[in-house]
């Protein structure tokens, strides 16, 4: 069991540092202490077996990671072959990393004002200035149709049946991103 525990710790540390290595500006994931927090989060969302699934998946992708000659290749295979599990690892790790004190200090060193938590301090910004035309517009552009002036529009430019279900196949490949706001369907949670 002792060996297994060490294996788990070494594999997680290797995974986190491969994903978030350190450089002159930022600490590595383990130096920031993010790996332990991330492990807790993986366990919270995927259950006790979640961490074992991560380790097993990496083994199947060329691991164990800690002793792999090319760690990047192993993690890339993990990302490709187990996208949902990898997504959970990334979610847990990135949030853990960017809340760690050392990383917040690194962000501040770049010149940003950045709080560890939104409250209680909040942020200072110059208030809305009624005399600034980029705050309070001077233009008179824009209009609306008053109730009494609503008239039937010319429908001839519309498709033959505008209420027909869209042919979504026309949109295949048009969406270049799937942001966090689009997550959360039952299907995705179950995966």
């Amino acid at each position: 069991m002792e060996g297994q525990a060490h294996d788990l710790a070494a594999e997680l540390a290797a995974l986190c540092d491969t994903m978030l290595p350190g450089d002159a500006r930022f600490p590595s994931a383990t130096a920031a202490g993010a790996h332990g927090v991330a492990a807790d989060r993986i366990r919270a969302r995927a259950g006790e077996a979640g961490l074992d699934r991560v380790i097993e998946a990496m083994r199947a992708c060329g691991g164990p990671l800690a002793s792999a000659a090319d760690r990047t290749a192993v993690v890339r295979a993990f990302e490709t072959q187990h996208p949902e599990l990898f997504g959970l690892v990334r979610l847990a790790l990135f949030t853990a990393y960017y809340e760690s004190p050392a990383v917040i200090r690194a962000i501040r060193a770049l010149g940003h004002v950045y709080n560890a938590a939104p409250q209680p301090a909040g942020y200072d910004m110059p208030p809305f200035d009624p005399d600034d035309p980029l705050h309070a517009p001077r233009h008179r552009r824009g209009s609306y149709v008053p109730t009494a002036e609503v008239r039937r529009v010319d429908l001839s430019p519309l498709p033959p049946d505008p209420l027909a279900p869209e042919d979504y196949r026309q949109e295949q490949g048009t969406a270049t991103g799937r942001g966090l706001l689009s997550t959360g369907t039952r299907e995705e949670v179950r995966r």
């Binding site: 962000i107 824009g142 505008p162 270049t176």
Partner: protein, 548 residues
Amino acid sequence: MTAARDRVDVVVVGAGPGGAITSLVLARKGLKVVCLEQGPWFRPEGRPHGRTDWEWQRLTRWSTSPNVRDLPHDYPVDSVDESTLMWNGVGGGTAIYTATWPRYRPSDFRKGDEHGLAPNWPITYEDLAPWFEIADEACGVGGWPGDPAMPPRGPFQTLPTAPGPLGQVAAAAFEKLGWHWWPMPVTILASEHDGRPGCNLCGNCQNGCPRGAMNDMAVTHWPKAIAAGAELRTECRVERVETDREGRATGVVYVDRNTGTRHFQPAEVVVLAANGVGTPRLLLLSESARHPKGLANSSDQVGRNLMHHTLGLVECWVEPVTDSHKGIISAVAICEEFAETDTRRGFVNGVTLHVVRMNGAGYQALGSHSGNVAPWGAAHHDWFVRHFGHGVGILVVGDDLPRPQNRVTLSPTLKDSSGLPAPHIAYQMCENDRRLANFGLDRAVELARAMGAWEIKVNAFRNPDGRYAPPAWHLLGTCRMGDDPATSVVNQWHQSWDCPNLYIIDGSVMVTGAAINPTSTITALAYRAATRLADRFDEARRATGPLV
């Protein structure tokens, strides 16, 4: 076993905007009001704003999706077509929203006249105009008067919150394009109003506001409603509305989630305010031999005509510092250049652009709203240094057409923690919606280019096969109002055609969706409906037909 409670004048189901306003207005009239809410109170100190793990909380326990939270007081939503976002608790959706507060425009109420692909509302903008002002005063709105794209409104309770450098980058781009733009009205105070403090620009609006600067019904309405005598019972999940032989509502059956006991709450009048998914679900759960299609559903319109808006998000990154982690999350500015129908574009209805912010460092590294995820590995930190503090979000909101196929039904498989069937949602764009959505995305990309963006990312909320599967903040139209009992569920006073002492006061009644966030209009409708109900309550409690 079901224990009966003392009879009340009105039982209200749901403690969000519709339920809070209804309870306040009726209690102030001296009526005995009980509101049943399946979720709990969320106290300011319980919110994650003071915790260093606030971003993790934002994406899990405090997610806007009940399916991600997966908490016992929530109910799951069965759908692969969209991701319903809602909050079950005191304040309803106002506990975790963006507090964006534009109004429907006059033509939004006359789409039957304008193009006939959606019906007219039974009321006009002018009918609602005074109630908009009452709602604004009660909620507290930060804004700037004189917008030529809308009928006059105001005075606002405070100035807009700070636009910051992001707002100035966007304003300059709008000026370059010659498009309309205006500071977005928001129910977030820039300065003290009604005993509430101004916003301190912390950037985490979507976990609510522990300061009380944002309009959360738990802050702005419930304390006043309770002081006026309304009783709010939390953790009480309503299972069904009961009716008598004449088809009048007699009250509701609910489960106290703390004790597991079942109660019958008798009432003279029942008001449903459980949002555009929860209300039709409850009506469908209330089916009986007398109402085999569900209660109040002789028109077969309960659950149909669901509208979510056509949504898209374009994010871009520019050379100037935008500080996109500071300030209210949404929205700095609104563009209503394309809000009215112009069929030369190939579709009816309009679209608006909202300039929004991006949350914190972790959220931005995870792709923010557009899915522009920072690479892992050696390139990660260079990506972060280049992108963080330089982003701008552009939310594209289009007016989707109501269609009967887009509907809420009961899930055959999924249940909530009380064993009640979850709602099932079917939702798909129509061809008009597709054209509208793509037009809006193109304009947002044009705006990003006018900002001088060096990187642009588009999230059209489409699955790899091309299907639109949006986040669904706006739950509208599923018990729409009208003049004809054959094609609508309630009349213009929110009274059920079928069940004369049953009222629906939430986004379900909205006939069209407009191209903007709906809560401002929902609150105005609620003040109008509740005031009428209070003023004519003696007639309403005895009504056997429409109370005209």
